[in-house]
Amino acid sequence: MRKLLGMAALAAAFVAGPATAQTEIVVQYPIPDIFKEVHEEVAKQFMAANPTIKVKFLQPTKEYEDATQQVLRNAVTGQLPDVTYQGLNRQRILADRNIAQPLDGLIAAEKDWASKGYDGALLTLGQVKGKQYGMGFSLSTPIIYFNADLVKKAGGDPDNFPKTWEGIFALAKKINDPANKIAGFHFDWDITGNWMWQALVFSNGGTMLTPDEKKVAFDGPAGQKAINTLRLMMTDGGMRDVSQATALQDFVSGRLGIWAHSTSRLGGVTKQSQGVFPLRTATFPLGAGAESRLPAGGNVAMMLAKDPAKQKAAWEYIKFATGPVGATVMVKGTGYFPANALPAKDPKMLGDFYAQNPNHRVAIGQLPSMTAWYAFPGENGLKITDVIKDHLQSVVNGSGKPDEVLKKMAADTQALLPK
């Protein structure tokens, strides 16, 4: 692969003739076990189409957390990459510290931007305080995965999967069979950045803070419903207090019936479940009708370059990677969906792919309820997510009563918000 890439770059250089002032841009990205091949393929196609720009990758970081860490360290030593891919809820840190460059000027200078497929709702996912800092690359949303065999055996209908938590818990109870080491249900409540907690609150029509970001809002009716649902998962749904890794292993080996997780694993789980059990997906239960929202996960491309020539090259690359060609490569290689509306409409790009893969289509159906992965403001923003996680843990392991935990969680969060 690497050799091929090198040859492609070499070939591109030859086509371009004697090195006509090539601009090199340095790109950093996280989670190579999902994204390595995708990024390398996108870069290959980009360099073939833009022979004057050379894309160089830094050693990818394992997680979103270290990707942010690396950029912050590089900001101190003055060795920033030109483009970085960051988790949606990490954009705020880089924007607040003036490390990332706003893209509004570049977008304004584009001709017929409206026809490029960047829909308004998807663009807002890359905005911090009204400015565009990130361009969505790969997006995910919480969905329900289920093992159609286990669901059928328990008397459920895979084509008519329950749309409410009560329905799911009732089904899970029938699947649950500890004697044969089969579990009914698991909800990965501890995904980074309180993502699944946000999903429970948003899907009931709530928000994390008040619109002015001064006061906690998750202690309202939506939050109460959310935290009670979390407790009911244990008491009614028979969920065990196990790690994400255990749940994933159990699900792909056919020992877990219903599993709530991000679409990001859909590609991998589809492959792993082949020949073991028929995999199906269903929409995340929405408790507030049209008011329901779901947090988007995934990552955006951000521009860090300050030099105008580099910025120009970086922008071309960002548009390519987040545009139809990059999105097509990305979707086929992962379970994420694109932040660009064009490829799904074109049968040659992703139209046919979605027609043939109904499991992937479920996420597309959730697009209208998509909202930003919320990042708490201020210097304690990331610490707050840890405080919330600890409180949720006490609901999951039954050591705290849901309504009392919610009160304490709200008070602790309030104390860490900027005064």
């Binding site: 957390e65 900001a75 510290r97 207090d241 790690s243 210097e379 392991n397």
Partner: protein, 298 residues
């Protein structure tokens, strides 16, 4: 005053400074400089990557001493030490005595018990993770055979810290064993003969009257080193529990790491580091002081 001492001779003094300068440069660059930088950082509100930095005096320390997580972490670290230090010291001593007294296979046992020390703890933590898996892990399967329900070793808040301490003992007993063996080798055999003539005939009597007192300096050293090492516990926490469940295994270095590198509150993380340095320094001073008193033993 006719005799000038060498220190008063300007040439010799210069030579002396020149000779110690490499050591001094290394000390300043590698130890004193960074430590001082950490102390200075701990007095600021700097966050990793932030463009500005303000001096806030002891603000971080005030916040630290009012922080429930910090005290939990501090307490956990001490509990961990109080289990691992005696556990690994006595296990190390026992192993050393048994192996020294063995008729055969000494080299094999020495190597076998020393293996955990030479292996990478991160990799070993992953192996432990498999062994401790609640349903398919080796430990619970073995316990099931004898009719004991093992439960979840790492997710049970009242048990997780002690599980990690068990791994800590396993990891450091080998090193203590080797240090004790060196101590045992240094005991002159005629002392045992003399003790026997004086009537110390049983194994226990000989241990109590000769071996144990003669091992005094070695025991002190082993205890302090084990204390400092277990105070630095980090790898197993990072790999196995991430300080959870609910901070049940949160330890000082892990808190420092999360504050400084996950929450990016660098100044606050530096304050935790200073607390950590003070404790380690106190342990080291304790060893030096107690060691001075015991010099007459050897």
């Amino acid at each position: 005053m006719i005799d000038a001492s060498p220190a008063d001779n300007p040439g010799e003094r210069r030579a002396a400074y020149a000779l110690i300068s490499p050591a001094w440069v290394m000390f300043v660059v590698l130890l004193a400089g960074p430590s001082l930088a950490v102390v200075v950082l701990s007095l600021t509100d700097w966050q990793l990557g932030a463009p500005t930095m303000n001096f806030i005096g002891f603000g971080n320390y005030e916040q630290l001493f009012a922080d429930r997580v910090f005290w939990k972490s501090f307490g956990n670290t001490f509990v961990y030490c109080l289990v691992v230090v005696p556990g690994s010291v006595f296990l190390g001593l026992g192993l050393a005595l048994l192996i020294e007294g063995a008729a055969f296979g000494r080299a094999f046992y020495r190597a076998a018990y020393f293996l955990p020390v030479t292996s990478t703890l991160i990799a070993m933590a992953v192996v432990w993770e498999f062994m401790l898996h609640p349903s398919v892990g080796l430990i619970n399967i073995v316990l099931e055979q004898v009719g004991i329900k093992g439960g979840d070793w790492l997710k049970n808040p009242s048990r997780a810290l002690f599980t990690l301490a068990g791994i800590g003992i396993w990891q450091s007993a080998g090193l203590n064993m080797v240090l004790f063996m060196a101590g045992l080798k240094a005991i002159p055999p005629d002392l045992y003969e003399a003790a026997e003539i004086d009537g110390a005939s049983s194994v226990w009597e000989r241990f109590r009257c000769v071996t144990w007192p003669m091992l005094g300096p070695a025991t002190l050293f082993v205890t302090v080193v084990s204390g400092i090492r277990s105070f630095q516990v980090f790898d197993t926490v990072e790999v196995l529990t991430k300080g959870g469940p609910n901070k049940a295994t949160e330890v000082l270095l892990y808190t420092m790491y999360t504050e400084a590198f996950n929450f990016f509150r660098t100044g606050y993380g530096a304050a935790i580091t200073v607390v950590f340095l003070v404790v380690v320094l106190a342990l080291t001073l304790l060893q030096v002081k107690a060691g001075e008193k015991r010099t007459h033993y050897s």
